[in-house]
């Protein structure tokens, strides 16, 4: 055996958990040099883009919602906006506002879930949210109740708490009665205060001193915090129409993962989407209370520490409650619930802001209302290359630990991105090949 062979160390993590799907991390070292970092998603491809073809376009919102049980609204919103673009449909301001309310609901439940059950345990060296509940019952209960509010609003407005069924091309199948929404106001008033307390709490966590020179990307709108509309902007000065997404960003297949990875087409660079990107790029359009709390806790932009994304999520929960309350208080029943349209051959695309970041859809339709092609780019696939790059930079900070501790440290970094997740216990199986010189 040569000295090079004896210096090689491989650490393998065969199965990640607490991610939507299954993945692994493989790290290869030669001495202290990181030779390779691979974040491998090996869940079988789900073929949504393929089996949407030839289906009626009206099926798309409900089918794409099944891509994720935690962020179905993101898929529904992106799909209906893209299809409305293809059909030349313009929605009313009332429908537009109700869609923002639906997105508020999803941000509240998704962010609350991630903050309290999935990410917060990492800051205390705990294996699960259940363990966290034992140490911080008041904070945990508060997080559960916040999540429940999001689910309740999804149920009232979306027809169901998980995989809502009330969204359709042109608007909604049914507009709720005023009283159905008004009865949520007391809970949401409590929730706004609770979101402030939760954000204050997470701001006290001990964050690793780790900063990255990210190219952050999100939607941006002149009048509002972005959810369903806007231009695509970045911290490196990009500002493009959504219709130019595919010129600017491209997905590619990598040998070690069934999930595609996204990079900028111009220079193959990675980029970062998600709440941290949104807050960095749209801070002045956060709600007044969210901005006040940010100032109080000393959070300012630019912030490029991925571990502090939990604070960005907290600020977005505050914003979502504040905006939701405004809509709930002002709401008046309206008709029509949805706009009429006629089938025509066409193409349309849209980007909206899922809890985990910008999501892009592109559809082509024929004159019989059938889908002829579909392209869906979720935020998690856009972040994958960035996560690998982050890990490459993070590993030197943690490689002095044993393999188990190194794996945990890598999990915590990945978890800060909130990759589409179902609650579980462990998530990262790490393999590190070490070739110690």
């Amino acid at each position: 055996m040569t000295s090079e062979e004896s210096n090689r160390r491989t650490i393998k993590v065969n199965a990640l958990t607490r991610v939507e799907g299954e993945g692994a991390l493989h790290v290869k070292l030669q001495g202290d040099v990181i030779e390779d970092v691979q974040l491998a998603i090996y869940e079988p491809p789900r073929f949504f883009e393929a089996f949407l073809r030839e289906r009626p376009l009206e099926d798309v919102p409900d089918i794409t919602a099944r891509i994720c049980g935690i962020c179905p609204v993101a898929y529904q919103m992106s799909s209906v906006h893209a299809l409305e673009s293809a059909l030349g449909v313009t929605i009313t301001p009332e429908i537009r506002r109700l869609r923002r309310l639906l997105y508020c609901a999803e941000w509240i439940e998704s962010h609350a879930l991630h903050m309290h059950l999935l990410h917060a345990p990492d800051f205390f060296g705990l294996a699960s949210g259940i363990e966290l509940a034992g140490l911080f019952p008041e904070q945990f209960n508060r997080g559960l109740r916040i999540k429940k509010h999001g689910n309740e609003l999804l149920e009232v407005l979306g027809g169901r708490a998980i995989h809502p069924i009330n969204v359709t091309v042109g608007g909604f199948y049914r507009v709720p009665k005023r009283q159905e929404l008004a009865r949520l106001i007391p809970d949401f008033e409590w929730g706004l205060d609770a979101a402030v307390e939760s954000t204050r709490w997470v701001a006290t966590f001990d964050f690793p001193d780790f900063h990255r020179d990210y190219q952050m990307v999100s939607l941006s709108h002149s009048d509002e915090y972005p959810m369903n509309e806007g231009r695509i902007v970045s911290t490196s000065g990009l500002s493009i129409e959504v219709t130019d997404f595919e010129q600017e960003f491209a997905e590619e297949q990598v040998p070690h993962s069934t999930a595609l990875q996204s990079r900028k087409t111009s220079n193959q660079s990675t980029y970062h989407v998600g709440p941290l990107a949104r807050v960095n790029l749209n801070f002045d359009r956060l709600s007044p209370t969210a901005r006040e709390v940010a100032k109080e806790i000393g959070f300012s932009v630019p912030c490029n520490n991925p571990f502090q994304a939990i604070i960005a999520r907290g600020l977005e929960v505050i914003h979502s409650y504040e905006e939701a309350l405004e809509i709930l208080r002002d709401f008046r029943f309206f008709q029509p619930a949805r706009m009429e349209y006629e089938y025509q051959t066409g193409e349309g695309c849209a980007a909206t802001e899922a809890p985990r970041g910008m999501i892009y859809h592109h559809y082509a339709v024929d004159d019989e209302g059938k889908i002829t092609s579909a392209k869906i780019v979720p935020p998690t696939s856009q972040n994958q290359a960035q996560i690998e790059a982050d890990l490459r930079d993070w590993l030197p900070h943690v490689l002095h630990e044993d393999d188990n501790q190194t794996a945990l440290a890598c999990e915590r970094l990945i978890r800060s991105y909130d990759p589409c997740i179902s609650c579980s216990t462990h998530f990262l199986k790490l393999t590190i090949e070490r070739n110690d010189s």
Partner: protein, 163 residues
């Protein structure tokens, strides 16, 4: 169970195939005339809902489909009692090894563990797992299970009314 105790029965389920069985049992119980007073019957789609219903509850009974590879008729049953030998911390690992099939949220065992951590777990808890084999979206309850439903319901009712 004596009349003055506060008892909650929860049927867990979803619209998919045999996963409806917990709801069916709850519906059947709710239709009976001779159940003890102090018994509340509820249906839940996710186990986490149960956490909100535990205030002042002394006895919790939960019924859910239990995914198995081969059909069988016998109920699985777990019980723990704060004052007895069947302590929660001994039975939780066993319950955690069962598969109640929830993929998007905490499973029942985790919710009960959470209830314990949050000091909400009732002094006595009974869980019935009904062996089930098919969970296809939009499908009805399988024929064998549908046929066995009256027996299951009587068994659970008998358990609930046992003094």
């Amino acid at each position: 169970m004596t009349d003055h105790l506060t008892t909650l029965f929860v049927g867990l389920g979803s619209p998919h195939g045999d996963d409806q069985i917990g709801w069916r049992v709850a519906d059947w119980l709710a239709s009976q005339d001779d159940l003890p007073s102090g018994l509340a019957i509820r249906k839940a789609a996710i186990p986490l809902d149960v956490l909100d219903w535990l205030e002042d509850i002394q006895i919790l009974g939960v019924c859910d489909a239990l995914e198995t590879s081969t059909p069988r008729k016998e109920l699985e049953r777990w019980e723990w009692n704060a004052s007895g030998e069947d302590r929660f911390d001994r039975l939780l690992p066993i319950l955690k090894r069962t598969n109640t099939g929830n993929s998007h949220d905490y499973q029942l065992a985790e919710v009960l563990d959470l209830a314990g951590k949050l000091d909400r777990l009732p002094p006595r808890v009974v869980v019935w797992g009904i062996p089930a084999v098919q969970f296809q979206p939009g499908q009805p309850v399988s024929e064998d299970l549908q046929e066995n439903l009256p027996t299951i319901c009587e068994q659970i009712r008998s358990d609930l009314t046992l003094r």
